[in-house]
Amino acid sequence: MPPRVQRLFAWAERRLPSLTRLRQREPLPIQLHRRRIYIVPTGFGVGFSVLLGVMLVGSLNYANNAALMLTCLLGAATAGSMLVAFRVLNGLTIGGLRAGTARAGEPIRVSLDIGASQRERMAVRLDIQGREHVFVVPAGAATTVEFDLPTEFRGWLALPRMRVHSRWPLGMFRVWSWLHPDRTVLVYPRPEALGPKPFEPRGDADRGRPRAGDELAALRDYRPGDPRRQIAWKLSARHHGLLVKDLEQPAPQEDWRLDWDGMHGLDDESRIARLARWIDEARETGRRWSLKLPDGYFDVAQGDEHYHRCMTALALRP
């Protein structure tokens, strides 16, 4: 874009905030109405009106009234298509925003409900960050538009400005309206790529000793004192000595007690990244974990809800 045009745009955005991308944020649901729907002819529309002008002059010059009537009919139909275009957006309601989860750096999936109580709206287009989504809004129902937003940082991500527009029905006029909802979606922190395991407390006296349980671990020679019901009689009959079934409990996975203050010499972001990685790992291996942050504590638990709670707390760390 040449600098001149850029300056013009900048001026327009200063002067006409509602017309442009500088529109203030507003709460959902947004209902489009006549004060915020704009119409301009498209390039094709301008070209076509030039053609209509040529047809008009031609038919006037040849005093051909039938041709003049045809030109008038075509012109009137074109002008009428402007109103049809307006009616595509008028009364459209944008509400119902849902977001998936994503860690910083991954695209986050956002879905937006767009509905209209009356009339089917054909070929509505939604521009979000350079990508266009085309859909039809049925009468009395809502369509869900799904799109991905790129993420970079953890925390609340504001929805970008979106432009809802349409060229329906003839492609000669473009109606548009800017949307700037004041809704945000949460982005979880980016886990660090590599790092040590969390510190596991080893002071426990029980540690390392197998506990008696129900699962067969091994067979071994009988030692005096072994309880009789553990002797494998049938196997022992084919051997020289008595064999004993060594039963034990599988070593339980240790609960991870993740502590913000347990990491020394790291800055906040690195701590968050490391904690995020640990929580991810714990969730993947089915481990239980607790998380202690300077301003909160999440007790030992597992499951999605716990995960999301912890990640949200991490994402929102100042």
Binding site: F48, A66, L68, L70, A76, A77, G80, L83, V84, N90
Partner: protein, 664 residues
């Protein structure tokens, strides 16, 4: 990709290719344009372009894409060569339109993207309009406007999300509705767009064949005309219409005879109109179909020239410009007159002139009459008419004439139709020394009772004679009338029917009635639409007291009218049914009332809370508000469908509530 494909234009990148449905519609539009132009394109060009169109359509259906360069370029060259070979030039109306239509069809070969389709449709609209330059009759105009339907449907399908999923019927009905909705505005624009009184550039001199009467009359020439039932002119009279035998419309008078045919003498053009004394006069309005010629047939006898025409010395009328559109005019005709009582010597010579050697036997016959009757010219004429009456027969398929046409006709074949009789009669008069000339024009016509006007068809073309009699001037003699009086009394159809043998086949009353009505529609179209010119437009505002509307007045009315229509359309566009039922409407009204009193409902505030807040803010209305609250909650949440009487009770309560701000 290996290598670079040369292309005539920049290829848009990344744009999706046209859907099959859009392409089908595009092909349909182009086919329609071709059809509309088929009437004046050479048949082989139409066929060839049709083949290209169908081939391309098939090719793309099978998954083919853009035609390669080496097909497109030779085709364009071929088209150019064909058009130039046919017309000798590329400029002008016929070759221009042929070339444009050809290019439009060839454009399909490289129509793959939305942009191509749009350009194609825009020029298709232009081509549709240009078809009207050839024929602007009612049928042709309706047919051409029908072409807008596929054109707009194509544009519409370009915007559709899933063009393929739409059923075919739903492609066209919305477009038809849009076009119907556009009719009021377009009619308004049509009425008030200021017309040009003079063209900005020269209108094309088309080589279209002159239809209708020609300025030469030779026996046998008129036959094409007499079998052509196309309307030639329509006449409505202010008073009662003249009887059939007086409905003579003069177009040409012919003084020059070359032994074979008659043509107007050149000398007649340089005199002032000859004087005439008029008896009873009759006023009429006529609309003349385009003849691509200048002559205007006028009811016998024209007393003055309508605007933009000149009255020639023989009281025929010539338009200043060629008549390419329907010409409407009003005129005054004299039914009884004395026309040129004193004959100019040069004119007398012209009207006695006979070619050397032609018709020796006819001359002998005329000389014998002259001897018998002497100076009683009227008696000579009567003798000639009597001869025709006795031994001659009327037929549209006469035997061919030999070398000497006059003698052959008078003494051998003795059968023919108006031009034979007029020609021979005039010859005989001249041979007898009486100034005489042949007149061509129309005679008779068909009285349309539905529209109360006279419809004159080309088949009503007629030729008769005018003989100059001392003291009476030019007197009309119609020898055909003495051979076959029906021709003059009942019209051409009756005369032909007697010989054609197909009497009554198409003359069923209901069919005739239908034809009458159809012709009334045509007449209306010709007068109301095609004949609506700058002059008529200026008179448009007469009912409103503006006798002579200037361009500025018209523009003003146009602007005001457009603004009104646009306002109506905007009202439609902005109209939005309110959500919800009657209860919601009453609740909204209550909210407005309370908002005026300073209690406005917050976004997301429940009704109970809102009523409670209102009651706190307006203690004077506490009781009413509590009742309203209770009623509302019961109606809203107690029923699926609140009973109407309770809703109206709620409405009454809302109306009665007097919300006044409390001064704190």
């Amino acid at each position: 990709m290996t290598g670079v494909r040369p292309s005539l234009r920049r290829r848009p990148t990344g744009e999706p290719v046209l859907h099959a449905r859009s392409f089908d519609l595009l092909c349909l539009t182009m086919g329609f344009v071709l059809l509309v132009h088929a009437a004046h394109l050479p048949w082989w060009l139409t066929t060839a372009l049709g083949v290209v169109l169908v081939a391309r359509w098939q090719q793309r259906r099978r998954g083919g894409r853009n035609a390669p360069f080496w097909i497109k370029l030779p085709l364009i060259g071929l088209l150019l060569a064909a058009v130039i070979l046919q017309n000798g030039t590329l400029f002008g109306r016929e070759p221009g339109s042929a070339f444009a239509v050809g290019l439009l069809v060839l454009k399909l070969l490289e129509s793959e993207h939305r942009r191509d389709a749009r350009v194609g449709i825009a020029f298709a609209c232009f081509a549709l309009m240009s078809a009207l330059l050839f024929d602007q009759g009612l049928i042709a105009s309706l047919f051409v406007s029908l072409g807008l339907v596929p054109a707009l449907a194509t544009l519409r399908s370009l915007e559709e999300v899933e063009p393929q999923a739409t059923p075919w019927s739903r492609e066209f009905t919305p477009v038809l509705l849009v076009l119907l909705a556009a009719i009021p505005l377009s009619l308004f624009a049509f009425l008030f767009v200021p017309r040009l009184s003079t063209p900005l550039w020269g209108t094309p001199q088309n080589s279209q064949a002159i239809t209708g009467l020609s300025n030469r009359l030779a026996p046998g020439d008129m036959l094409d005309l007499m079998t052509d039932d196309t309307p030639a002119l329509r006449v409505s009279f202010d008073g009662p219409p003249p009887p059939n035998t007086a409905r003579y419309f003069r177009a040409y008078t012919m003084q020059l005879f070359d032994g074979e045919g008659w043509s107007p003498g050149s000398r007649s053009a340089r005199r002032p109109p000859s004087d005439a004394e008029y008896g009873t006069r009759i006023a009429y309005q006529a609309s003349l179909e385009p003849t691509h010629d200048r002559v205007v047939p006028m009811l016998d006898l024209a007393t003055m020239a309508p605007p933009d025409t000149v009255l020639r010395p023989d009281h025929t009328v010539l338009a200043n410009r060629r008549i390419d559109e329907v010409l409407t005019f009003s005129a005054l005709a004299a039914t009884s007159y004395r026309f040129e009582p004193v004959l100019d010597e040069g004119v007398r010579r012209d009207n006695l002139q006979l070619p050397m050697g032609a018709g020796p036997k006819a001359r002998e016959l005329a000389a014998s009459w002259a001897q018998r009757h002497g100076a009683d010219h009227a008696a000579i004429a009567r003798a000639a008419l009597a001869m025709f009456h006795d031994g001659f027969s009327y037929t549209l398929a006469p035997a061919p004439l030999g070398r000497d046409r006059i003698d052959d006709f008078l003494f051998q074949t003795r059968e023919g139709y108006c031009e034979h009789f007029a020609s021979a009669f005039t010859f005989l008069m001249r041979a007898a020394g009486i100034p005489a000339r042949v007149v061509t024009g129309y005679q008779g016509g068909y009285w349309n009772t539905t529209g109360s006007y006279l419809l004159v068809r080309r088949s009503d073309a007629h030729a008769w004679s005018e003989v100059w009699l001392e003291g009476r001037g030019w007197v009309r003699f119609d020898p055909t009338a003495s051979v076959r009086p029906e021709r003059v009394q009942l019209g051409a159809a009756a005369a032909a029917a007697g010989h054609g043998g197909e009497e009554g086949l198409f003359d069923v009353p209901w069919l005739r009635n239908l034809r009458d009505r159809w012709d009334v529609v045509n007449q209306w179209w010709n007068r109301g639409v095609i004949g609506f010119d700058a002059l008529r437009q200026q008179g448009l505002l007469q009912p409103f007291g503006i006798a002579h509307a200037e361009v500025t007045d018209l523009a003003l009315v146009f602007a005001i009218g457009c603004a009104l229509l646009v306002a109506a359309a905007l009202g439609w566009a902005l109209f939005q049914r309110r959500e919800g039922d009657a209860l919601d409407a009453w609740m909204r009204r209550l909210q407005r009332k309370l908002a005026k009193a300073g209690v406005s409902r917050r976004a997301g505030e429940g009704p109970k809370h809102f009523f409670a807040r209102a009651a706190r803010a307006l203690p004077a209305q506490r009781n009413a508000l509590e009742r309203l609250s209770e009623l509302y909650l019961r109606l809203r949440y107690g029923y699926d469908e609140p009973p109407p009487e309770s809703v109206s009770e709620f409405g009454r309560a809302v109306k009665e509530l007097k919300a006044r701000r409390v001064v704190k």
